[in-house]
Each structure stands twice: as structure tokens, then as C-alpha cells.
Symmetry: none
């Protein structure tokens, strides 16, 4: 992610075995310090500047520039270290159940204040193609892949309608959550994730007259959603 030839993350790479490279070795604690400082600043809703990251982390500005191309990249990396380790999906169960589990795993981080970060990162990533690419690779791809798998599986199982476009579904799931992040409408409670799933499963249409006595089905979920009006929407 950092534009670093030598890779760092886990990085028990070959190189580290063969040759302790010449010169002073990179101080890995710097990466941690920078990312931590960045998260703190983002949480404080302070406007992020390399300047600030530098002075808070104690890492000099030129050093930061050596390892990251711009502040957006730093922010994204900082966010990812926080978020991705939660993405653990336990497949199994009905569509309903499994979709909920997916939402919780994929967007559960939105329960926390930090999550606003992502919206600002994405927004500024528009100007930095490389950062955008990181975002796709590390955030989008894994989630979209899992969703695609889920859709395929449940379609085969006959639980989902035929012909559902996983990409479209992805946008209908992630879109509302992202909207709240972008609008500062955080934290996003778990119930919201569930409501989205519920509405999507059932659809908006009134049950056809075919089975007037059968609002049953998976209808339960549609239990009168308290008309939340606390906030204005987004």
C-alpha cells in the first residue's frame, strides 16, 4: 500500500532472510506511530495534514513522504489496519440470516465513530488514482467477492430469485451505509443494517392478492419498523 519497494506488512520476505540490507534499517515502529497518529487526528475530526501527523507522531515530514505518496494514502492505510481484521464471515443458514451476517461483517465497523473516516478518504481518493486502487483492492474486492459467492450459493439453493446482479445488490447494500458515513450520520447501528436487508428481501410491493391470508413467509422481518424520524435522513 505504501509505495514501498521493499514491502513491510507481514513481510518475513525472502530479502529479510538473505541480506540484512546495507545502511540503517528502516525503523518499523515509525509506520505504527504514523498510523496511530493519523487515526487519532481523524477521530478528532481535525482537518488532516501531514504537518499534524508529523508533529503528533514524532516522525519527520520527509520520512512520511518517503513511505506514502500523500495524506490520503496514509489515511486509507490507517483505516484499513483498523477495519479489515473484522471481516470474518461464517457462511451458512438462510438468505436472510446469511445476508445479515454479511452486513455485520462487512460494515460492522460503521458502528464506531471512526467510520466517518472512510467517507473522507474515498472522497479525496477521487483525485489519487493509486489510492483509489488500494481502496478497491483492500476494501471493495474482498467484500464484493464474498457477496458474489453468497448470491451464487443462495440462488442455487433457490432462496434468491434468478438473475440478481451481485454488483447492483452490492450498491444497494453498501450505498445506504456509505451515505450515512458521508453525511456524518454516525454511528450506524446494527439495526439499520438489518432494516436494509429486510426491506431488500421482501421488496416494497404489497403482497399479491393470491394469498390474502398469508403475509407469513419471511414477512416477519417486516414487522412494523418504528418510523424513526429522529434524524433527517442523509
Amino acid at each position: 500500500m505504501a509505495h514501498d519497494p521493499g514491502s513491510i506488512p507481514g513481510s518475513a520476505t525472502a530479502s529479510s532472510v538473505t541480506a540484512a540490507r546495507r545502511g540503517r534499517p528502516r525503523d518499523t515502529s515509525l509506520r505504527t506511530a504514523v498510523l496511530r497518529a493519523t487515526l487519532e487526528l481523524l477521530r478528532e475530526r481535525a482537518s488532516l495534514s501531514i504537518e499534524a501527523i508529523s508533529s503528533r507522531s514524532g516522525v519527520s515530514r520527509p520520512t512520511i513522504y518517503r513511505w506514502w505518496p500523500n495524506k490520503t494514502a496514509v489515511a486509507l492505510e490507517a483505516f484499513m489496519t483498523e477495519v479489515n481484521h473484522r471481516l470474518v464471515l461464517a457462511p451458512g443458514g438462510g438468505v436472510d440470516e446469511e445476508l445479515r451476517a454479511f452486513m455485520h461483517g462487512a460494515f460492522g465497523f460503521a458502528q464506531e465513530q471512526d467510520s466517518v473516516i472512510l467517507a473522507s478518504v474515498i472522497a479525496s481518493a477521487t483525485e489519487h488514482p493509486d489510492v483509489m486502487e488500494s481502496y478497491r483492492a483492500e476494501f471493495l474486492r474482498p467484500r464484493q467477492d464474498r457477496l458474489a459467492g453468497l448470491v451464487a450459493r443462495q440462488t442455487r439453493a433457490g432462496e434468491l430469485r434468478q438473475g440478481i446482479d451481485p454488483t447492483l445488490l452490492w450498491q444497494l447494500l453498501w450505498g445506504p451505509v456509505y451515505l450515512r458515513l458521508a453525511s456524518g450520520d454516525v454511528p450506524v447501528p446494527t439495526e439499520f443494517l438489518d432494516q436494509v436487508v429486510t426491506l431488500l428481501l421482501t421488496g416494497l410491493l404489497a403482497p399479491p392478492r393470491c394469498a390474502p391470508a398469508a403475509p407469513a413467509g419471511p414477512a416477519g422481518p417486516a414487522a412494523p419498523p418504528e418510523p424513526r424520524a429522529e434524524r433527517e435522513g442523509s
Copy 2:
């Protein structure tokens, strides 16, 4: 919209009849020039600065600051003048039809390149409560109100299920579109708006065994949507 006490826009207010105000009258061509320059810059994806707006529009910097508190406010106003005059909804027809009409009226602007603007505006509005308020008042409110009306009407008409939360629905409609704007995934074609509506109306579930002939309804919707995979999603 501009932080202007004395009204400018349409403003055939009483005051304008009774008293042509004292002092040199405001040169209204400036407002236009500023907004036009702003749109141009935003379209060019150039990073927006008051400096740039000033030199491009030929309006001096102090004058811009006289009428707008910050660049985000300028950008929002510029966007609104472009967008809001399209919001004409002709109610009538079935849910399906009416929801589509709503989408086209409310988000049709997303067909154009300009639309990315909005995402950047919203993103930076997070730091400017007053601009955020303008955004709510001029973009969100009218659209949400119309949607709420639509929902109420169609619920009474028995076309929509009982208990649908208009706010949640709003987020499911606007969320996906906004997501594409924010990701630079523009223009958003009209078909996308329709697909969202279709999916939401019908829901994801496979038709219950109760009535094999049932899913007719507005029929078309379930038509195998070609699994668009051109783009990666957002």
C-alpha cells in the same frame, strides 16, 4: 444561499417594489460569473480554490468573500442552480411508474459529468455546518418530502406494503446513486435508476410457492437483468 441578508434570487419581495435600495446596486452579473467559473473548475476536476474562481471569473477575491462564506458554499450554490430546476415531478400512475419518475426527476442530473461535483461538495460540507444546512434545505428536503408523499399515497392505494419507512426508503434510493457519484463512477445512466427501483419493488426473494403465477405484477422487473460487469462497482 449566499449569506446575504437582503435576498437576491427571485425575490420580487415587497421591498424591491417599495424601495430601490440605497447605495450602488449589486452587480448581479458577478454572481453568475462566479457560479459559472466554479462549475467550469469543478468539471475540470481541478482542485477548487477561491483564488482560481476569482481569476477565472474576473471577480475579485474580496467580493467573493463578501457574498459567500467559503468555497464549499460557492460550489453548492453553483451546483444547485444547475440541478434543481429539473426537479419536476408529475405524480400519477402505479407505484412502479411513479417511483421511476421520482428517480428520474430527483437524480436525473447524475447522467451528466457535473454530478460528481455534488459528492465533493457534500464531503467538504461536513466541516461547514451552514453549508450542510443549505444542502439539506435545498437538496434533501424537497426530494424527501416528495418521496414521503409518494409513499403515503401509494400505501393508501394499497400498492405498497404497510409500514414502509420513507426515510429508510430514501436511503436505499439515494444511497446507491450517491455511492457512484462519490466513487467517480459517472455518468449514472437512467437504466441504473430503473434497476434500483425494480430490485426494491420486487425484493430479492424467490417467489413463494403459494402462487406460481403470481410474480406477474409489473412483470418486467424480474426480466433477467444482464449481469453488467463492465465496471467493478463502487
Copy 3:
């Protein structure tokens, strides 16, 4: 002084008799208001701006520009109205006496805090030839003329050495006072004026051996000047 075609000050000019000019007559209270406000600001050591004069005096900016070419001109005029009415010289008496009287009359204003004003005015007048000319006409000329008269008279009377250049003398009298004004070393006490005169009259040289017993003469003045060291000089 003001760049006013029609003159105002005393101005019982022919024109004022023959024709009260057409149109609304100038409101003379404005001049007073402007000058008073200017003096106040100068006394407060605030940095003088037309803006400030305008808002303090309640006279609009364009009106001030109608009557004065720049702020330096306003300041000079304000100062002169304060200062010149003191210049009343009563000739007569010995050189010593008369020179002292001259100093008191010409530079007595330096006893007051306001006097610093003059230094700043002169300094900025360097860039405004017209203001400099006013300064010469209204401040310098009358004082220099009187001094020249004094020198001529006392030279004829045999009290002053032959061949004293009045211009040089003027600079030796006004220079030290001006220096204190310019350095903010105000107020300039009357004793200072006297000391200057004394030193100049007697000169620095020790009395020639010709009359070892006669430090008398006009020596009295040289009475042990208490070695003031309170301030640093200028």
C-alpha cells in the same frame, strides 16, 4: 489646504460675496468632524486610515476623498488647526530673551502629547509633494520668517555675531525638537527649549584665557545644566 477650488477656511473671498453658489452648500460641520476624529485617532497612536476617520467621524469615505487628496493631507490640516494659533511672538528684549520667546512660540506645542503627530505627518509627506508644500507654507515659512527677522534685528543691535546664517540657525533650533518628536520622546519640556538656546548662544568652547576671571558675560545661562540622563536621547 484641502484641494478645494472654492476655499473655505477664512475665505471671505470675493466669490462668497457675489454668489452663493448654486446647489446644496457644503456642510462645514463635516470638515470639523473629520479633523476632530483625525486628531483623536492620532492621539491614540492608532494607525491612521481613511476608513477609521470615516467611521469615527460619521462622514462617508467618498466625501472625505472629495475634500482631501489623501490621509496625510487630512492629518496635516488637523494638526495645523491645533497648533498655529499659538504662534504669537512678542519681540523685544535681549537676544537671549527673544530667542527663548521665539522657541516657546514656535515649538511650544511640543509640550503636548499631540505633537508626535507632526513627525509622522512630515515623514509621510515625503511622498506627497502637495502636502509637503502645505507644510512649508503653513508651518515652516512663518516661523522661518520670524527667525530671520529676529536675527537681522539682533545682528544690527550688535548682540549677535555678524554673518549668522538664519537657515542654519533654524535647523539648529528646530532640528533637536523635531528629533525628539520623531523619536517619540515627548512631551518636550520648556526647559529643553531653553537649554538649546543657551548652548547655542554661548557655544561649547571654554572661555578663552583672555579673561580668566570673567566667566560672567552672558555666561549665566550656562548655569550647571543638571545632567539629565533619564531618557536615552534620541
Copy 4:
């Protein structure tokens, strides 16, 4: 002079020996460039602005602000570098001779057009106590000290009258010169300096009847000074 904690000018301080300070060293050519540009602008009688200094010298504005608190400080430093290296006094000789030498050394710079600079610097220093302090320390103090020494020496030698206040004398010597600078009455020719000394030594009074042959002394002084009237005085 610059508000620089770390010493630059001569400063062969201990620190400079032991430790060449960390970080990129200050580019001393910038200081020179700034001061040179400043002198040029002052000579051209252009109104001095940091903006102008910056663009003329090629040094960026922030850098200038890093090293000087305001433009007055820059101007003073620029002037001092030009002026102070001339202050070399060779004591010895009679009062007359020595006083003249003092004048030439201390105020000789006034022969050049540049000298007007000083007046404008002092004028604006009134608003900047720190600059005023620099002025005292670097211009006033050394000159006043030498004058005080001169007075003491010559008083002991019996050439000067007892009880002459060096501060008062300072004002009588520097005042007339400063007056000419402030009035734009430059260059100040060497003869002017001499005339001031002459007048001060001898005094104004006609020689007492005691010793008709007396006023010999340094004789010259009383030589009929051509009544210069070319300029108006100041």
C-alpha cells in the same frame, strides 16, 4: 537584528565551533538578496512592501517572515549594513578637529541619497518597539558613546566648557542632520556638518568686548558663511 535566536552575523560563538547545527543550514545568500532588494526599493522611493521585496529578491514571502518580524526591521537592517561600517573614529587633535571628525564618521552617510531611508525607518519604528530598540542599540548607542567620550576627554583637556550635557549636545548635532533627512533635503554635504560644528563651538553671541583680539582660536569658524538660500530649509 533579525529576530533570530540562533545568531548569524559575526557570531563565532562557541556553538558554531562545536556543532554545525542539525538540519539544513540557513542559506545566507538569502539574507543578502533580501537586504539588497530592500535597499534598491528604498532608493527608488518606492513604497516598501514585503511583497515587493519578495518578488524583487526572489526570496519567498514566508521565508522573509521567518527571519524578520516586519518590513521596518528589514529596512533598518538593510540600512545598518550599509552605514555602520563607516563609523571609524580616529580620536586626537583639538576639539574642533575632533568634533568634525566625529560628525563625518557618524553622519557621513548622509552625503548619499540612501540616507533618506533612515528617516522613514525611524518614523515607522515608532510603531514597532523592537525595531526601535535595534535602532537604539546599533545606531544611537555607539555614536552617543563616542560623543560622550569625546566630551569627557576634551573637557578634561580644558578645551570644552565645564558641564556640557553630552545628551543635549548629541541632539544638537544629530537633530539638524536628521531634520534634513526627514525633509528629503538630501544629500547633506560635508560642509553642512562642518557648519553645524562651527556654530556650536563659537556660539551665536558677538564677542565680548573683553578681548577684541580673542576670537582667534580656531578662527575659521566665524568666517562669513555664505548665506546659502538655495533651499528653503526644512
